[in-house]
């Protein structure tokens, strides 16, 4: 009897490990930034007047940083949800446009200057936001992806919730879904706003 149960037990343990391993999403990497201050930046906005924006401008507010780009298909999927969220006045959402203008966008044999890139990024974003709705209180442009590196961005869209003290409380890689919104983001908002 014992001889029969020992291999069976080992097999079941193995199956349990494999089953858990299969269910996990390898794209989901725990961010070391949770609980750490949001990295500071100062980036150009949609406003052609030259106004800059940084996380320091949101001190005292619970806010969302949404990393997106017009070339990103999943961003289009989550966009209606963000628009609804902003219409419901749940929290201010800041759009961080990540590397809108890519290397292949340059005309053959010519390199785009940062000014060119900013101009093109503004044009494209304005069209997108006009067509699909603008959920952002402000849109900033991370043209070379440097701010993205500081935030550990590796797959657009990514979404961060930052609290009143400027500490990152939540990170989502990939499109925000109604389910994550209801089960994680909204409860977290209540908690953060109450404190």
């Amino acid at each position: 009897m014992k001889k029969f149960f020992i291999p069976l037990g080992i097999f079941l343990v193995l199956v349990a490990f494999l089953a858990v391993g299969l269910k996990r999403n390898p794209q989901e990497i725990p961010s070391p930034l949770l609980g750490k201050p949001a990295p500071l930046f100062s980036l150009s906005t949609l406003d052609t007047g030259g106004a800059k924006f940084g996380p320091q401008d949101m001190r005292g507010k619970v806010w969302m940083l949404n990393v997106w780009a017009t070339w990103c298909a999943a961003c289009r999927d989550e966009h209606p949800l963000l628009v609804a969220l902003s219409k419901a006045n749940q929290l201010p959402i800041v759009g961080l446009n990540y590397k809108e203008v890519q290397a292949q966008d340059a005309p053959a044999g010519r390199q785009l200057t940062p000014e060119d890139k900013l101009r093109i990024a503004r044009e494209r974003s304005a069209v997108w936001l006009q067509r699909l709705g603008d959920p952002y209180v402000v849109s900033v442009f991370d043209l070379d992806g440097r701010v993205g590196i500081d935030y550990g961005v590796y797959g657009v869209p990514e979404t961060y919730i930052i609290d009143k003290e400027g500490v990152i409380r939540f990170k989502q890689v990939g499109a925000v879904t109604l389910e994550t919104l209801q089960s994680q983001i909204l409860p977290l908002l209540q908690k953060l706003n109450a404190s």
């Binding site: 390898p26 725990p30 070391p32 992806g145 500081d150 935030y151 590796y154």
Partner: protein, 163 residues
Amino acid sequence: MKSSCLQLKALCLAACLVWTGLTTALAKEALPMAQDPVLEKRLVLISEELRCLVCQNESLASSRAELANDLREEVRKLIAQNQSDQQIKDYLVNRYGDFVLYRPQVKPMTWVLWFGPFLLLAAAVWGMFSYIRQRQSAQTAGVALSDADRHKVQAILKSGDAP
């Protein structure tokens, strides 16, 4: 027959040549612009130990993902700033987590990972020895005879002597 075989060989050779030509061309394209050979050498050494987050089975050195390009550029800058290998790795770990390291750090969180296999080996060795000992003692116990048995056997053997 012979000529068609030759043709086939020639075709194979041509295909091989084209293939190697293609692959080396691709390999060359992925190579960074070597401005400073010493810096590039260190970049390769460091980035081979780092994981590309977009294509997770590739190292930062071999990946051609856009993000890998940016991160290599970042590492290049850090090398130019005379940062140590550890400092550069810490820079990336602070942003992307331990996941970027192909060689995880030894810390309480990764003890099972580092020492677990040795623990399993020790358990297996212990199991094997206890099994062998058990078998040996079972065998010797089976051979041992009581005095009564010995007398009985001797009696049988003796009776067998006399036909």
